[in-house]
Symmetry: C2
Subunit: 249 residues, 2 copies
Amino acid sequence: MTYCVAMRLAEGLVFASDSRTNAGFDKISTFRKMHFFRQPGTGSESQGGERELVILSAGNLATSQSVISLLEKRCGTDQANLLDTPSMFESAELVGQTMREVIQRDKPEGKDSRVDFSCSMILGGQIRGESPRLFNIYTEGNFIEATRETPYFQIGESKYGKPILDRIMNFETPLERAYQCALISFDSTMKSNLSVGMPLDVAIYRNDALKPCTFEQVDEHNDYFHQLRAQWHQGIQTLFNELDPPTIC
Amino acid sequence: MTYCVAMRLAEGLVFASDSRTNAGFDKISTFRKMHFFRQPGTGSESQGGERELVILSAGNLATSQSVISLLEKRCGTDQANLLDTPSMFESAELVGQTMREVIQRDKPEGKDSRVDFSCSMILGGQIRGESPRLFNIYTEGNFIEATRETPYFQIGESKYGKPILDRIMNFETPLERAYQCALISFDSTMKSNLSVGMPLDVAIYRNDALKPCTFEQVDEHNDYFHQLRAQWHQGIQTLFNELDPPTIC
């Protein structure tokens, strides 16, 4: 299983993903689910680059790895590729098309397979000349875009970590708050589902930076995550203990 | 959809269920999912009755209604019935057996049906001479029992409301605290899933009471629930805002 969340906020974008994959309880591996496509600038460093794109992937690992490999392999060639798309919208189209291509390649023709070849992806980022945008791309290759009213997307094991996002997040949430909220959402998910596991990849992109995201890999030894989860857990206990008592009992 | 939760704690049992059923977004109805089987005492009122049993149901409504109807119809007859079982264990066996009977009756023989006839149930309560016990009965009719280490069961749409239970509940949690925790768990679930809805049924059984549970129907006009959800929501915001800031951004 997998859990990924991405947010498009007033100040920029936040991405987070776990790194556990499993095919049964005794076939557990670590695979990164966060992938970057970036075009360094040709001018001075202060001008930044031309694009910064992030893809998060969930679902069948063979499918999602092939999609990422094909997208990477085509960069810098004459084929349509993610370093050459004129807009984020066309980047989402290209990712969706590549997902269809891989699933069609692998799925046995004309008969039902017991294997689920589906995958889903989140694509976010910025291309010079456009505002940052964020897309949720379904296994069918079609997609939806995040808006001010619905500023975040989740893929994979999304339910355990959704209530805290719903209570805290909105478009105006500052990036560092969104980062904290994403970590708490992962903490709740990892407590309930063994198939979502550390290390976590977190990337933060500030509007118009057009340079590599601030990236952090949060593993078991990350002091801030330990402190945050302890503070949250203790805070929830205290909050609960201070609730007005019910009259029923 | 449905969400039900039940807990077996040091002081007694807590049951809670929503009342929304749906077959598509425009076919929404209200059906109770909490059912009581009780045997009034023959002695004085202070002695209490002989048994108090509660069943929560989720899954196919035609299946679960038939199961409850059959269990009710057989009470007071010569057939094995829930007012006559010598123990909670045999009560769970009887419920499981009745579930198998109904599913076998309805499921087209020898061919796969597109309809999902499955249901699941939680049975809890006390029969004089035994301690209170709590069982989670699967659609196959087999079941597991709650223990000190795993004091609660959920059926139906369980994921959104699980993190708060995991953070708060343990075997020693007092009944009124468990009641509050169940309500918060429902609040989180109803925020995220439209197919779980009010009114909620809540029943509280104190060890060895052997009389009807304290029962409450929590609807949109319930002042305590309004106050609790507002206090919780506000408390979560405050707790979140007081977290130590991260160093990443």
